[in-house]
Symmetry: C3
Subunit: 343 residues, 3 copies
């Protein structure tokens, strides 16, 4: 168990200590769950009254929070979320404990597997798989032939990674996700009266520090690559079609879906259940509201909403007007009548 003083933690997050900086804590928890040896936190200053009821030894609080007389030290920070994440990670991060390969795992020929890895029970590695140091593969996960996985990457149980996928370092992939399945591509053959499958010979490339949620689907390229660039984060049940490119640090909330060959810019944020059509270019820092459907290219920094998506400010006014539509119908009828009478 790690221990740190409030002053040390304040230094870690660039915060300002108020009160007894020498108080030592051994962990972080929320207000309700914190014990007397733990630090807790407040994000919303309007809820400052809740501090009194917590057993925590100290608190991380917003910089603007007025002095609170709890006789407990505070760390004042500009962004409590960030400070909490840093301090929580400080307490929880442990050195990698290599479990080796479980004897029930099935490992193919010509694999490169460092000594310092964990391969769970009943995991399957194909031929020619190359793992980096400190990789962890969950139970029941199936990794195809020729897959490369970089150092410190964590793959949870029951993931499936198709042949030839390339995965970077410090990547996390949650259970049930499928990496490298075929894209949805067919050519209709009018003579045979059937859809002829287009072979998908590309691959998936996932760069460093990407996180992929549970039950996502990332199709391989038809040719070339489907790419998720460094630091991008996908929530659960996200769908990426063939040859999609996701920019650095982009965030895709749950159940979003991106059709084939579309490029999402860096630091873009896509809300839950968003859909984006194929072959589009969505710029850097674009924000797309939850449930929107995007059918057009979007410039850097655009903020859009709706189906089809329009600028978010316009969408707010449209939404307000839509709720008034039935009334407008009546008004228009009334105006028509009077207007007609005046003819």
């Amino acid at each position: 168990m790690k221990t740190a003083t409030v002053a040390e933690l304040a230094a870690l997050v660039g915060g300002e200590t108020a009160g007894a900086g020498e108080v030592a804590v051994t962990g972080l928890a929320d207000l309700a769950g914190a014990g007397a040896q733990e630090i807790s936190f407040l994000v919303d200053p309007r809820r400052a009254a809740e501090l009194a009821g917590s057993r925590a030894a100290a608190f991380i609080v917003p910089a603007k929070l007025p002095t609170v007389a709890e006789n407990r030290p505070l760390i004042r920070v500009a962004d409590p979320y960030l400070a909490v994440a840093k301090i929580h990670n400080f307490f929880l991060t442990q050195p990698f404990a290599a479990a080796g390969a479980h004897p029930s795992a099935v490992i193919g020929a010509d694999c490169v597997i460092p000594a310092e890895v964990s391969i769970g029970p009943l995991a399957v590695l194909g031929n020619g798989v190359r793992l980096g140091e400190r990789v962890s593969i969950g139970a029941g996960t199936v990794i195809g032939n020729g897959v490369e996985i970089g150092a410190d990457t964590l793959i949870y149980p029951n993931v499936t990674i198709y042949d030839q996928s390339v995965i970077g370092c410090r990547v996390t992939i949650h259970s049930g996700s499928v990496i490298g399945s075929d894209g949805f591509g067919y050519a209709f053959d009018p003579v045979a009266g059937r859809h002829l499958k287009r072979p998908h010979v590309g691959r998936v490339r996932i760069d460093d520090e990407v996180e992929i949620g549970a039950n996502c689907c990332i199709d391989r390229g038809t040719f070339g690559e489907t790419v998720i660039r460094a630091g991008a984060k996908l929530d659960n049940l996200v769908q990426l079609g063939h040859n999609v490119e996701i920019g650095e640090n982009a965030l895709l909330v749950a159940q979003a879906g991106i059709a084939g060959s579309t490029r999402i810019g860096r630091s873009a944020v896509l809300g839950g259940q968003v859909g984006v059509s194929g072959h589009l270019k969505i710029g850097d820092r674009v924000m797309i509201a939850a449930k929107s459907g995007v059918h057009n290219n979007q410039e850097d920094g655009a903020v859009v909403a709706g189906i089809p998506a329009i600028p978010h400010r316009q969408w707010l006014r449209v939404s307000a007007a839509i709720a008034r539509l039935p009334e407008m119908v009546k008004e228009l009828r009334s105006v028509k009548k009077r207007s007609g009478e005046n003819e």
Copy 2:
């Protein structure tokens, strides 16, 4: 094979027998599939003519159905769906047949496993797993460390349950579902130029008689719990974010998604592909139409539809008006012209 007379079945469901109550049947099937030893059923009285073509020995029918002269006994009930479900369950329910743990299953240390369980081939249980009586774990399912599973719970193959999840009695979880994955929570670190992952140290708690469909994702709490209360039912591909609470007997239809920390009231019904934003309170018995997007708290009993969701009655009028919009544009132009001419 069980056998029961029509009169016995009528008593089981509180129905009224018409005709030969002493006729015995050995099972239940739909009109097309029923054999001469089975009872069948009619839900829609307008389809009463279809009874004649069925081979069934007897029928469950709506209470208001006029006498039908099929020379076959009827059970008249207020709710045929409910009567069919009760009678069908009567015929199908069998005593639990414990298969024990398949020799290929991998079971960790310090687990509590009663004699009367079934653990399928190649299932994996971590350390400290505690199973109740008559639990059934499907092939390939992976259960993390410290998970508790109550009596009579049925988990289908290829499910993944993360560490520390708590699952009640008589719960059913279908294949591919992932219970306890991390929530989608990051704090952006402007100095490092990257999203810093927030640790998720909470858990998932699933109460008694919950059913979870296939390929669902239930994230664990960031702190505290994500909770699905007793009797709630989730269809396939449903997404619950961290710290979501689902009320007793709520129904969530396929592909619905609930963002973090939102509470859904008891007996609420969410249609397919519904999305609900985070940190909301959706009241008891709220009904949300399929494909709606809910961005605001909803009072008990509210019935809403649309993106953003509005009261359903208003939405019906809005939808009708929307289809008339192009016409309204023309009318408005015409009125403007005439109005202008009158100035």
Copy 3:
């Protein structure tokens, strides 16, 4: 490695050779990836300038493409997509290489398993499973009791197929998909105050040449069958409720969901994230735009969009009008005012 001359490939696809038809190639790739022994292709005539930069030995091009002076032979075809698919399949198709059953696979009693199959590591077959010739079952896939799988069908790793499902020939099922889970059916019991589960005793039937993407969910029939007819293709994360019928050659793009008992006609095309209510009849060749919500029957050949879905042409005009709504509100106010003044 296969080799063919440009003239031979032109004959294969019914195309017209321009230039040196005797040039031999050994594979197909896109313009950027093609080597000097490969044929490449152009779909969009406006991008003809890109041919010059490719190392390919020959090109498949649209019939209307003006002569390009690349000193490399062309195959002119009416539909480059189709020709590319045919030629690519020609190069890639290999005779089935039976790997037999991996020793770690768990195979139940009374199965019918031809010599020429591949059953991957840690796959599980229940009792009474019947496989056709040249079936391939991926690692970790779980196949229930009594399942039938036709010849030449390919099932990727970590798929789950429930008991009694029937799967045809030349079917492909991608990882994570769940075939045959229970439908979402409950009857509310007001006395017990709970939802009573309706048993689902039907099955899933998947006909020949169907392809099912990753992480799809296909529920079994309550009674009778959920059916996917020959040649239909499902993208990833598609949901089919109990007793749904999908017509021949229908295409369902990712994240589409179809509620119980709905019939989708042959050659229908459903865009991504489409939702269709239960008990509907969607005709042949119906096209439903991405993200639409369909609440009504649709006649053969209908093209619809929106929530609720309306004819696509009307939807285009409605969408244009919606964006103008805030302006209309102002205009209407102004007209009202003037109209009032004229009274």
